[in-house]
């Protein structure tokens, strides 16, 4: 079988708030000094889901695809070190600056180009924008079934059995291959690679694919094809206000507090 893991490199979510800045004019996050971007956590878990099946099914190959700039190669290497077999980096300038739709469109084209893909594993959402659209978009564009927010994925007899996380419990669904699954953190921690694997990852191939190879019209991908317009990007200012309850006795203060909360429609 051949699985694809989609991996996105994102600004480090552990960036200290004091170091996180945005350029409001350009509507961009200013990369903080000395803090390198990382693999989106959910994508590492998606890779873990694919690798668990690979361990039990001989002859399974995993290709990791990332849409991003040259430095996204690090994210690909990380998944390769975990045990994926090869990498595809979609770093063409025309792919950059898009939205969830163009990302799904580009990834779907790359998956189609690979040809023999049986299943696609995505994180439930990218940990930077938290849109949660790309996995579903890929499924839609490929015409495949999609199971989202999985806490476990098993593969047998050409079908995936997916346990999904619901607000009030779990649901188990079965989907025929080929299919797309988006994976949630309930699945468990992604594995820590053995050093031997890290060394081997350095020798695995990561190839690039151009819009022409993917038969994509440049005007339909990247910034040119984006349909979502970012209106404003800013760091919210968290503020607090402290109000002292009037009253000479604790009882009187408690009454004042209750009244204030009632007025604020909290009680």
């Amino acid at each position: 079988m051949h699985f694809v893991v989609c991996a996105k490199q994102i600004p480090d979510p552990e960036t200290p708030p004091s170091a996180f800045r945005v350029d409001e004019a350009k509507k961009e996050v200013i990369p903080p000094q000395g803090i390198a971007p990382v693999l989106s956590q959910f994508d590492g878990i998606a890779a873990e889901a694919a690798l668990r099946i690979k361990e039990q099914t001989s002859g399974t190959r995993i290709t990791v695809i990332s849409l991003g700039q040259e430095r996204a190669r690090d994210a690909i290497k990380q998944v390769l070190a975990m045990g994926a077999d090869e990498g595809v980096l979609l770093d063409d300038a025309t792919f950059q600056g898009g939205d969830s739709y163009t990302t799904a469109r580009t990834l779907a084209a790359a998956i189609r180009k690979l040809g023999d893909v049986d299943a696609v594993f995505c994180g439930r959402q990218a940990a930077d924008w938290d849109m949660g659209q790309v996995g579903l978009g890929i499924a839609e564009l490929l015409g495949w079934p999609c199971a989202i927010i999985a806490s476990s994925v098993q593969c047998a007899e050409g079908k995936l059995t997916v346990k999904r996380v619901l607000a009030d419990g779990f649901e188990t669904v079965r989907v025929p291959l080929p299919a797309v699954v988006t994976v949630s953190n309930e699945l468990g921690e992604p594995r820590y690679p053995k050093l031997q694997q890290i060394m081997q990852a350095a020798r695995k191939t990561v190839r690039s694919m151009t819009p022409a190879e993917l038969a994509l019209d440049p005007s339909t991908v990247g910034a040119a094809g984006a349909r979502l317009k970012l209106e404003r990007l800013f760091v919210p200012v968290a503020g607090g206000d402290c109000e002292f309850m009037p009253g000479d006795t604790p009882q009187a203060q408690a009454v004042a507090l209750a009244k204030t909360l009632r007025a604020a429609r909290i009680l």
Partner: protein, 709 residues
């Protein structure tokens, strides 16, 4: 030489003088008095030598399974000195006073009485003829003296083993322990009995002036005399006891080949093999990129020296008795670990030899995995790398490198790591520091300090703040104190600010040698490109790795811990602690400044210079100091076991009655900050934890300096 030789030597000296003063006499005895076929002794001797060669050869063939141990042929004079100091004079054995005296008694008695026996053989069976006259009298005296010394040792051993509530020697008690001590006691007693019987028959009446030189046997002969036995009875008993004595003695020496008595040979040899470099240094894996196996997952991946050490272990339990993990009821006993590895080697070794060393896979030979089954993962992770076990071991076993070798296997070969430790490693890899979830930046501590000089190569010192000093809230005041003191001392220094990265130390201790090397090489490059020559560190862990481990990668810098720099500044008067503090303190030695680098005095000197301070030492201090619990990467591991190590240590600090516990390490301070509320739930009168620098800042700059925080 051990100080306890002194009384015996003095006594012997007096006796020698006495013997020389004695009238020129023709004192002597018939060496093999009343013994037929004494030559049979040589059969025993031959058998004994054969047995020892066989026994030790059997061990040696197992050691040969190990990898080469490089560097052991260097610094021979130093190594010989170690063999004398630690092997012959037993400096480490003496760290336990009772056991030290006991062991010295047994050891010196065996050495001297073996010499006595050898002289008897030489006198009788070679052309040499010296056992007569004054020397004979002296010989009789010291033979009896050391026989008595041996009996005192046996008595002490019997008391400790059977009557005292002493625990550690009974943790892994075996039949051989009883045989060894009972055997030795019987040999000594039977020796005296034989001598007494001979004296009664040949000297008591005939040569009353000679007999008292064998003072113990003489007394015994006097007692025997009361029974008025016939000469025939005496001679019959003598023959019987003589042969019993000989058989026991050779049998007991034969135990060397099969029991822990083999330490008689292995301990001095292991003292010779003991590392001569800094104890805080872990070996680098050379050319790590080209290797296929990184840690030690199979017994033959240890060096032969590590395998040799396993055989040197005498199960005394001193290592386990001082192990912080073990004291807290956590699943690590260094002694058990060494014994388990030894048993594993004995079990799989012979089959491995047969399988041929090359390509021999221990798993095909042994159904159990060494790491995971023989030694549990939890035991390896519980180690604080504090070095207490290594320091106490009387036979110079180095447990810590062996444990880290197996951690390397867990991390790099198997990727089997507890989640918090793994996250710390991932953080070091991708973010250059191990502190998950910190909201601080490397420059946060600089706020409100005015201009902070950035190191540009023109300054004399680099002040290395470290990850703990800049990214953990509690440590920021310490960093600021050190900074203000450096500024007040007028020293020329700068900091790296955002350009600091992890020194790699936690990665190395957690077993990720590859990540360590990446981080260390990167930082050495930064230091070299900025022309750093002298570094002052906040953290003993950075200090140790800069000082002792970076030279492995050609990073050679002069490294000072801040307490060393500050102690000098106080001594030469550039910093004047003029404000009185009126505090009662206790001082906690961090393992990596203390035990690993021998720096116990600088922090105490600073405390002494500050007026008004009253220092009470803890029960365990200086080289006996107990780890705070965070060492060896345990800052990022969940503690498994009955208690937390920092609670144990905090209790010891609280027991001094001091109002504050002082340390020199950001990890120790955090462990105390965590431990104090657990040990003292009441907020009132609670102990506080400070770094030495925080105290000194208050003493030098006054309350104003503090309020400027």
């Amino acid at each position: 030489m051990g100080a306890w030789w002194a009384p015996a030597l003095a006594l012997s000296g007096i006796a020698l003088a006495g013997a020389l003063e004695a009238e020129r006499s023709d004192a002597h005895r018939q060496v093999f008095f009343n013994v037929q076929q004494p030559w049979a002794v040589y059969l025993f001797l031959g058998a004994l030598v054969g047995l020892l060669v066989y026994g030790i050869g059997r061990h040696a063939s197992l050691w040969a399974l190990g990898r080469p141990a490089p560097g052991l042929a260097s610094e021979i004079p130093h190594r010989l000195l170690n063999a004398l100091r630690l092997g012959l004079a037993q400096d480490k054995v003496r760290r336990d006073r009772y056991a030290g005296i006991m062991h010295w008694c047994l050891f010196s008695s065996i050495v001297v009485l073996t010499a006595v026996t050898a002289q008897v053989a030489l006198d009788d069976d070679t052309a040499l003829d010296f056992l007569h006259g004054r020397y004979y009298l002296f010989f009789s005296f010291y033979g009896d003296l050391f026989g008595l010394v041996g009996l005192v040792g046996v008595g002490m051993a019997l008391y400790r083993r059977y009557f005292d509530s002493y625990r550690r020697i009974r943790w892994d008690e075996r039949l051989e322990d009883h045989l060894i001590i009972a055997g030795l006691g019987l040999i000594l007693v039977s020796g005296f009995v034989v001598e007494a019987l001979r004296i009664e028959v040949t000297e008591l009446a005939q040569h009353p002036a000679w007999a008292p030189w064998s003072f113990v046997s003489f007394a015994l002969a006097k007692v025997l005399h009361l029974f008025a036995l016939s000469e025939g009875q005496l001679l019959g008993t003598h023959t019987l006891v003589w042969w019993g004595h000989v058989v026991l003695a050779f049998g007991w020496l034969g135990l060397i080949a099969f029991t822990r008595l083999d330490h008689i040979f292995f301990a001095p040899v292991n003292a010779f093999l003991l590392r001569t470099d800094a104890p805080g240094r872990l070996a680098a894996i050379e050319q790590i990129e080209q290797r296929e196996v990184f840690g030690v997952g199979q017994i033959q991946d240890f060096t032969w020296k590590q395998l040799f050490e396993l055989d040197a272990c005498v199960r005394c339990g001193r290592c386990t008795a001082v192990c912080p993990a073990n004291l807290a009821g956590q699943p690590l006993s260094p002694m058990q670990l060494i014994q388990d590895l030894k048993a594993h080697l004995a079990r799989v070794g012979p089959a491995l030899q047969r399988a041929g060393h090359e390509g021999g896979d221990v798993r095909s030979v042994s159904p159990v995995a060494m790491v995971g089954e023989v030694v549990a993962d939890e035991a390896l992770w519980a180690c604080r790398t504090c070095g207490a076990c290594v320091q106490e071991c009387p036979v110079m076993i180095e447990h810590v490198p062996t444990i880290v070798d197996m951690r390397r296997y867990l991390v790099m070969d198997e990727a089997r790591i507890p989640v918090p430790a793994r996250q710390a490693l991932e953080h070091m890899e991708s973010r250059g520091h191990p502190w998950r979830g910190t909201t601080l930046q490397r420059t946060s501590w600089m706020e409100g300090l005015g201009e902070v000089p950035i190191f540009d190569g023109s300054q004399q010192y680099l002040y290395w703040v470290g990850c703990a000093g800049s990214l953990v809230e509690r440590n920021l005041p310490i960093t600021r104190s050190v900074f203000r003191l450096l500024r007040a001392s007028g020293a020329s220094f700068g900091v790296l600010g955002q350009e600091e990265t992890c020194s790699g130390d936690p990665a190395r201790r957690l077993g990720n040698e590859y990540l360590y090397q990446v981080l260390a090489r990167q930082l050495i490059e930064t230091f070299q490109s900025k022309r750093v020559q002298r570094v002052i560190t906040n953290c003993p862990h950075c200090f140790n790795t800069f000082k002792n481990e970076y030279p492995q990668f050609d990073g050679r810098f002069e490294v000072l811990h801040h307490t060393e720099f500050l102690a000098r500044a106080v001594q030469d008067g550039t910093l004047k602690p003029q404000h009185r503090l009126d505090e009662s303190l206790t001082y906690h030695d961090s393992c990596y400044l203390g035990r690993m680098n021998g720096q116990y005095d600088a922090p105490r000197q600073i405390i002494e210079f500050i007026p008004g301070l009253h220092l009470t030492e803890m029960r365990r201090s200086r080289s006996n100091g107990l780890c705070c619990g965070a060492g060896g990467g345990n800052m990022w591991l969940e503690e498994a076991g009955e208690r937390r190590v920092n609670h144990v240590r905090t209790e010891e600090a609280v027991a001094t009655g001091a109002g504050a516990v002082i340390s020199n390490c950001p990890f120790c301070i955090q462990m105390f900050e965590d431990g104090i509320p657990a040990v003292q739930p009441e907020q009132a009168g609670r102990m506080r934890a400070f770094d030495v620098a925080e105290l000194l800042e208050r003493a030098v700059l006054g309350p104003a300096g503090e309020s400027a925080r």
